[in-house]
Subunit: 387 residues, 2 copies
């Protein structure tokens, strides 16, 4: 992946470098209406092509402006200009069309830069186009297993996998660490599908044996989507009470479409007064143990459950930082509590990141605690997390 | 910017391509402990250097593992291995150190990939190192103005700027559109500082004339930080009531350190019951006008203000999608209301994105409304936003 500035000679040199090795180059960005959008001009210059305006495309773009009542400005005409010989590719998510252009035996594909438009066009037009060109594509079968892992580091995972016989299967292993979870992908490419599936089944078994309870998902989907499926399957409802996570758990739970089926309400209780007034945490308890304490976390979770009239209450209280820490309760001290009909429990954590990341790891840990509880799994992986 | 896979020959070819034109190449990533981290091996191979372990660095890394009680695994030793002749660069945010390596008259700088580590090391070590090397650096002065713009598209901004005389100043103009705001940067490089400042002052004036009320900030800082400064300066407090934004406004407001000074509480009231129970919105009003209505939004904002005992109440109600829309109230219908001591007001919006982005644009619009109100500015730019 080569990224260059809005400079015609730089774009030319980049295209020439990439085409030395590649059969296909996908170019993104620089198709907009503004003066710094020069991709099409640069491509015409590189391959000595003339430019022309496609009137059918222009009409379609003008239609979008009318539909959304956006004022037309003439610089938008540029978005319907293509090098001669290019085949336009429709953009359903924005105004600038893409195009493909044959250069001898090689192919240049050009699409807009905004991620939503680029990914939709890749999926709907570019990948099908490339598969069509590649006649051997039908003869290789890929099988994949992905796991999402919580509570151990990338290097620990690598170590556990190194001794496991996974690499002996001849698979490609990839690690995608995020500071609060690690995505591990395993791919195999085989001449027949059955063989690919067989190898991946063995790989999955090895991963389960080696990583055990640290695996919380076998899917690319976001943790909140996994939690949502589990809540809906069990027809359970939830309310949350957030202090240090500041609304992030509610935000994540409501990112899932249809979340009103299980999510009743969230209370972001930053002040002590709001913990008392909105959740019924007695003032004396806050005074005796402090707002950041196991006692208050448990009462917040129970309060959330009661106020929301839900099956589950989930609560966080802690010190996100960078200020507010003390010797006894340093920045990163967080209590997460879960209340349900069978009882309540609370865990104490010592996180060590900046404010935003302490909020993120708090929301992640709370959602993993919830998921494990829903699956009746033990919580060892959480209680030992960086403790 | 050239990005390659974990492949020694690809890394070699990338380094050779970049060094044809560049005096300095900064390499990020691939310094971790796992088997796919091969950057140092590839650099040693490319420039024919031997590898050695730096024991002082190794000791420091082991110290970090002890401090955070993370179990040591031997593959971490790799993070203290350098090509001969490299000068290690300390990493205060992680375990893998970076290094610089002179190759003839050119320089390779290698730093870890995690964004937080890379950006801290760039700021603290790499940029100072490069300034030191560049003796002419002292002789060019850069001046910059940035504006953040809300409520008009990138192409409209470009058009407004094109006719304004801005380009005639000989400045570099950059557009960084995000679907909910556009960052415009203007830079000038001059032989003396005074001249640079004079040109930038003219550029700023032109931007203010052309973009007017659409400008909400002259800073790179996040909108929530700008709002926070304004609230603190005026010693005002706020509570929020969120339906369709699902906690995102509370999350953003609490991302600012010290937010407990102005943020009291947030209520994420997804169910109708919670709107009644927690915010005092009468059941009959919800029945008559619907939960997504101007009437309910206003009562939510007033309820948030009252429950939180704050100067300001901010509320959202709408249909984030993709389900839940109707002919009368399609997906993207959002009401945002603001209640303060002098009165309340509400605006109706028709957004047109997916669920996550409808939540994001709702939070952004609500915060811009709040900021404009705090600055006693008019809200035209908002009321006409995509209407």
């Amino acid at each position: 992946m080569l990224s260059v500035g809005d400079n015609i000679e730089e774009i030319k040199s980049a295209l020439e470098f990439l085409l030395r090795d590649a059969d296909v180059v996908v170019v993104t960005g620089g198709l907009g209406p503004t003066t710094d959008d020069i991709t099409t001009t640069a491509i015409a210059h590189t391959f000595d092509k003339q430019l022309h305006t496609d009137n059918a495309v222009l009409l379609q773009i003008k239609g979008i402006f009318e539909k959304y009542r956006i004022q037309w400005t003439d610089n938008n005409t540029k978005q319907a200009v293509f090098p001669l010989g290019a085949i336009p590719i429709v953009n359903h998510a924005g105004t600038a069309w893409g195009y493909s252009l044959e250069i001898g035996k090689k192919l240049i594909v050009v699409i807009p830069g905004p991620p939503k438009e680029a990914s939709a066009m890749l999926r709907d037009s570019i990948i099908p186009l490339l598969c069509q060109r590649d006649e051997t594509k039908q003869q290789t079968f890929r099988a994949t297993v992905v796991v999402k892992v919580f509570g151990i580091s990338e290097s620990k995972i690598d170590k556990l996998i190194a001794d496991s016989g996974l690499h002996a299967l001849g698979v490609d292993v990839g690690f995608y660490p995020n500071f609060y979870e690690v995505l591990v992908t395993v791919n195999t490419y085989q001449a027949n599908e059955q063989q690919a599936q067989k190898i991946i089944a063995q790989a999955k078994k090895i991963l389960e044996n080696q990583l055990g309870e640290h695996i919380f998902s076998f899917s690319y989907e976001a943790l909140e989507a996994t939690v949502a499926r589990e809540l809906m399957a069990q027809q359970l409802t939830i309310s949350v009470a957030e202090s240090c996570s500041g609304g992030l758990i509610a935000d994540r739970l409501t990112d899932v479409s249809g979340s009103s089926a299980y999510f009743h309400n969230g209370i972001v209780c930053y002040s002590n007064e709001s913990k008392t007034k909105l959740l019924g945490v007695p003032d004396e308890v806050i005074k005796e143990y402090g707002a950041v304490s196991k006692e208050v976390a448990l009462l917040m979770a129970q309060g959330a459950k009661k106020v929301g009239g839900t099956d589950i209450g989930l609560a966080t209280t802690g010190i996100a930082g960078p200020t507010g820490g003390s010797a006894e309760k340093p920045v990163g001290t967080v209590f997460i509590a879960l209340a349900h009909d069978a009882g309540s429990f609370c865990q104490h954590f010592s996180f060590r990141w900046d404010r935003r990341r302490n909020k993120m790891i708090t929301s992640q840990t709370a959602l993993v605690m919830l998921l494990k509880r829903l699956q009746n799994k033990n919580l060892c992986c959480i209680t030992h997390y960086f403790q």
